[in-house]
Symmetry: C2
Subunit: 214 residues, 2 copies
DNA sequence: TGTACATCAGTGAACGCGCGTTCACTGATGTAC
DNA sequence: TGTACATCAGTGAACGCGCGTTCACTGATGTAC
């Protein structure tokens, strides 16, 4: 499993001015390793360099240290999550329906990309590099889109609470709980996943007093 | 922070027949290290041995390998969680109130013991040793106590759903989501924690159609 | 059209580290006679 | 009451490993003259 010797052919050097190409290749290889090994600690500078077909010091041409590289991977994943949620809500008018679809998209993303989800949501805080503010921003962008839809649902009289931020936070907690527990305890005798998701979202929606337009 | 040289005095050797004492000391030291460093990977065989005041090979007198040791630590933590939840429900008659108190106790336990909570709930599956069945059992004991109370609440007509197992699972998802997200993202601009917990539990209770006895 | 040169995209070798684990051992302690 | 001996609770030294990171370097490529 672990590549002890070079598994990739030596990569051909980028042409003048195309040095940035390596940065993308590094990020892609890191993501691939993360998915394949299912273990963040297996995503080492050396393993990445080997996967790209380059020597370890080359990594430092584009990232200050390992920590920055891992955060860059997270940044990409937050982008994917946001995209998936935006796509799920696209073309839907009913505000609560938009929220619910975002929620299901969130869960789907997490379950389909378990390792990526794990590192963006369970990573140890405290070792956050300076670019962390950007990271935090993109993290929040998916969230703030939810807040907007929740606000619209409140204004449409679909939800009986008034604090869109509080409601959105509660929803995040719920979908995160579903996603992360299913990922962390795959052997637990869960009820069928779809039933579970629909039950939990249904209960929460009922508790919010959701009234649909239709 | 990391103890590079011996930080503890050499421990005096146990008397004949009291070899098991070391096992307890190892588990306590491992837990202490986990709390102090906030990082599972810092809880190494060598660091534990150092903290206990013993040489690394001594660990192998009581644990087959590092993995078994870490799982033993988890086992202890699951016991603590179950105790905390049992204590919270003790002396309460109203079934739903018992469930709600268990839920708050769960969240309190997780927030007060963040690192322990992290390892028991986010540990990588797949490297589970043979004694895993026991571990799984103690994990489930806290859960099955909830199922019992939920069943009682259903029978008392407090909840409008009929499947106690499904309802309990949903509740676990919710409280786990609250706990783990607060731990994982301490810098996020959360609403006040108490408000958040009461809001989320309140919404969920309302969604379950909870009717109180009083 | 030819050549010197700066720059860019990397390489190769090495550093020191902490890790899990194994192995042969030691020395105090209790027990049998 | 004294002594040989088995056992128990550890020790000390070493193994091989993969890791992040640094450093001085190389050699192809494009540009200026």
């Amino acid at each position: 499993m672990t590549p002890t010797s070079s598994t990739a052919l030596r990569r051909s050097r980028a042409r003048r001015g195309e040095g940035e190409r390596l940065r993308e290749e590094i990020l892609e290889a890191a993501e691939r390793l993360l998915i394949e090994t299912g273990d963040e600690s297996a995503v080492s500078i050396r393993a990445i360099a080997d996967a790209v077909g380059v020597t370890p010091p080359s990594i430092y041409l584009h990232f200050a240290d390992r920590n920055e590289l891992i955060f860059a991977v997270c940044e990409v994943q937050f982008g994917h999550l946001d995209e998936a949620m935006q796509k799920a809500a696209a073309g839907i008018d009913d505000p609560w329906e938009r929220v619910a679809r975002r929620g299901r998209a969130y869960i789907d993303f997490g379950l389909s990309n378990a390792e990526q989800y794990r590192i963006i949501m369970s990573s140890n805080p405290g070792d956050t590099p300076e670019r962390f503010v950007d990271e935090r921003l993109s993290q929040t962008s998916a969230f703030s889109h939810v807040v907007e839809d929740v606000q619209a649902a409140i204004e449409a009289g679909q939800i009986r609470y008034q604090d869109a931020y509080l409601v959105s936070t509660g929803l995040w907690m719920l979908v995160h709980g579903i996603t992360s527990l299913l990922i962390a305890k795959p052997d637990f005798p869960w009820p069928p996943v779809d039933d579970l998701v629909e039950h939990a979202l249904g209960v929460y929606a009922a508790g919010l007093g959701v009234v649909r337009d239709e």
